[in-house]
Amino acid sequence: MAEPAIEVRSLTKRFGDFVAVDAVSFEVERGRIFGFLGANGAGKSTTIRMLCGLLDPTSGAATVGGHDIRREPERVKRAIGYMSQRFSLYGDLTVAENIGFFGGAYGLSRRALAERLPWVLGLAGLVGRERSLTRTLSVGWKQRLALGCAVLHEPRIVFLDEPTGGVDPASRRRFWELINGLSERGITVFVTTHYLDEAEYCNDIRLIHAGRIVAGGSPRELKTSVIRNPILEVACDRIVEALEILQKEPWVLETSIFGMSLHISVEDEEEGRRLIAARLGREGIAVHRADRIMPSLEDVFIHKIEEQAGTGEAGEARP
């Protein structure tokens, strides 16, 4: 197997006594979309900032594109593109001026820049708006322009820190199409998000909680290996009442509400279905449907975080 694009060993960052990132280790294969998931404050940005050379790690080691982040930070910088969590292009420059400036900052020749400019504009969907001041763009456009500027110099690896934060669902989907496009060109994408549903778009995932990695793998692996107990998707009347009733039953392992239905985790599929219908029937609640489903990643993460914390309160991790 080729050398991984990113290799992280026990990377730790403390701010005073507070451990923001606690000995995380992982590898990212080349050309993949690597998702780093976690709630706000989990330590995602801090990890990314260490990998991009913005912060010095307290301890541990990492290589990015084969370069050690401590010893060769400037080589790392040539190999990567970075899009920070906060919009960080110049609001008082136009779209074309921002692209021109970052092109120059990355040492692109005028000719190379002239070639890349239309490509970036196309990628961001900003053809015809070259002369607009960047601060007048909507959030979705800004994010796409920021992505364009981050890949202007054709890096092998890009780090995207919550690129879809604060963007409407349609724009989020479009943004993920862009990320897929980058991946198809062979670029390694390291992306963080606190939207758990976005994990489905990734090839490989790590869930980070309070500075520690609590689960990892491909979406499929996670769904099949982490949760062994069957999950039933129950469609019934008065679902909030139904949830409260079922939560008190000893044979119910985990519960949650998903849209207009309940996800109930039980020991055995057949028996579970029967018990649910009987229990709710006694309260006069009609069960329309109770099908076994593949656990969603949200189920996985809730399970993992509850496991870690001992009890529930993991609802916070949900979007």
């Binding site: 913005l54 960080s88 001026e97 900052a105 020749s109 500027c149």
Partner: protein, 375 residues
């Protein structure tokens, strides 16, 4: 080089779009120079005074007339008794009192030493010193005249004794206009505040806006980043200097006796110091507000210890020593020299050397502190 030029270009585009640019660059220096040019007038005239004639003789009246007519004093009151003077001085209505004691005329007539009493309000030390000097010189002149009159009378006709008069001549600033002395220094002040502020704000603003984070991940080297950020401000500083000199010449008629080229070179050497300070401020500040306070904290000693108002030679030895590390000290000497005396390279190279050495040291310190990291 391409990276540096990109930053320089970007800075100019941003400056051009900044609506605050014109006021900061052209309105504020004019305001400062007008304000300080008129306020920083150290000449003392029309000192509010009271006179108290306890003698009421012809001699005392003659003496006080001379005092009153000198033009330096305006008489606020003529109290009859000593005790009535106090309220004027204490209440700040008079800065000076002249008292002619009883027996003044008789003593003079009897060729005995006579004295007058001068009371000054020491809390206004500048005014007091100057007022006492004027009053003393008036008294001396009067005394001299009396002596000569007497000599003439005693000796009868014959060759007149030579009148020895110490005449003070002021060179370079013949009208002793303190405004001429102040205005070159104001150029230094404007230049210093402008460049420190622009440099520190220019960098801290990028930290605040988050764009610094994006700059740090580019392969731009720290020295390229610094050069790219500071070059535009150097240029602006020179334009600013030219503008302030023009206002000084055309509005205040401040002389420019030396070489303009040397003046600009000195400004450049001075800006090496102030831009380094701006850079330093940016490395210790997270917000523009912090940068502002740090700048004020730096600028105050630069003004006071640099000899803006009080000459360095009059400071206590310790402060004189400290002032050696203050770039304004050298710049004020250089710029006053060039503008008022027409001083050239032979006289001013020590100042130029001091500015270069200090500036290089400050720059090295700031560059070492400036790291391409977030914390």
């Amino acid at each position: 080089m391409r990276a540096v030029l990109s930053i320089v270009w970007k800075e100019f585009v941003q400056l051009r779009r900044d609506p605050r640019l014109f006021p900061v660059l052209f309105v504020s220096p004019v305001l400062q120079i007008l304000l300080l040019g008129y306020a920083a007038n150290l000449d003392v005239r029309e000192i509010p005074s009271v006179v108290c004639d306890l003698d009421r003789s012809a001699a005392s009246r003659a003496f006080l007339d001379e005092f009153v007519n000198s033009g330096y004093f305006t008489v606020r009151a003529r109290p009859e008794r000593m005790a009535d003077i106090d309220p004027y001085i204490d209440g700040g209505r008079a800065a000076l009192a002249v008292v002619v004691p009883r027996g003044f005329g008789d003593k003079l007539a009897g060729s005995k030493p006579a004295s007058v009493l001068i009371i000054a309000d020491g809390s206004e030390s500048q005014t007091a010193t100057i007022g006492v000097n004027y009053a003393t010189s008036i008294a001396n002149r009067r005394a001299q005249r009396i002596v000569f009159d007497r000599l003439e009378r005693v000796r009868g006709p014959g060759p007149k004794p030579a009148l020895v008069k110490a005449e003070v001549r002021v060179w370079y600033n013949p009208e002793l206009r303190s405004r001429n002395f102040m205005i070159p220094a104001i150029l230094g002040l404007v230049l210093m505040i402008m460049t420190i502020t622009l440099a520190s704000m220019g960098i801290v603003r990028e930290k605040e806006a988050g764009t610094m984070e994006q700059l740090i991940v580019t392969p731009i080297r720290p020295y390229q980043l610094i050069a790219g950020k500071l070059l535009p401000f150097t240029l602006i500083g020179l334009v600013e200097a030219g503008f302030v000199i023009a206002v000084a010449r055309l509005w205040f008629g401040t002389p420019l006796r030396g070489s303009l080229a040397l003046l600009f070179l000195m400004c450049l050497a001075f800006m090496l110091n102030t831009l380094a300070m701006g850079l330093f401020v940016s490395t210790v500040s997270r917000s523009q507000q912090q940068a502002m306070f740090t700048t004020i904290f730096l600028v105050m000693p630069m003004i006071l210890l640099g000899g803006f108002v009080f000459p360095v030679e009059n400071m206590p030895p310790l402060f004189q020593l400290v002032s050696r590390a203050v770039p304004t000290r050298y710049f004020f000497v250089a710029i006053r020299g060039i503008m008022l005396r027409g001083a050239g390279w032979p006289e001013l190279w020590p100042q130029a050397a001091a500015l270069l050495i200090l500036g290089t040291a400050l720059f090295a310190l700031s560059v070492l502190r400036f790291r391409k990291k977030l914390d």
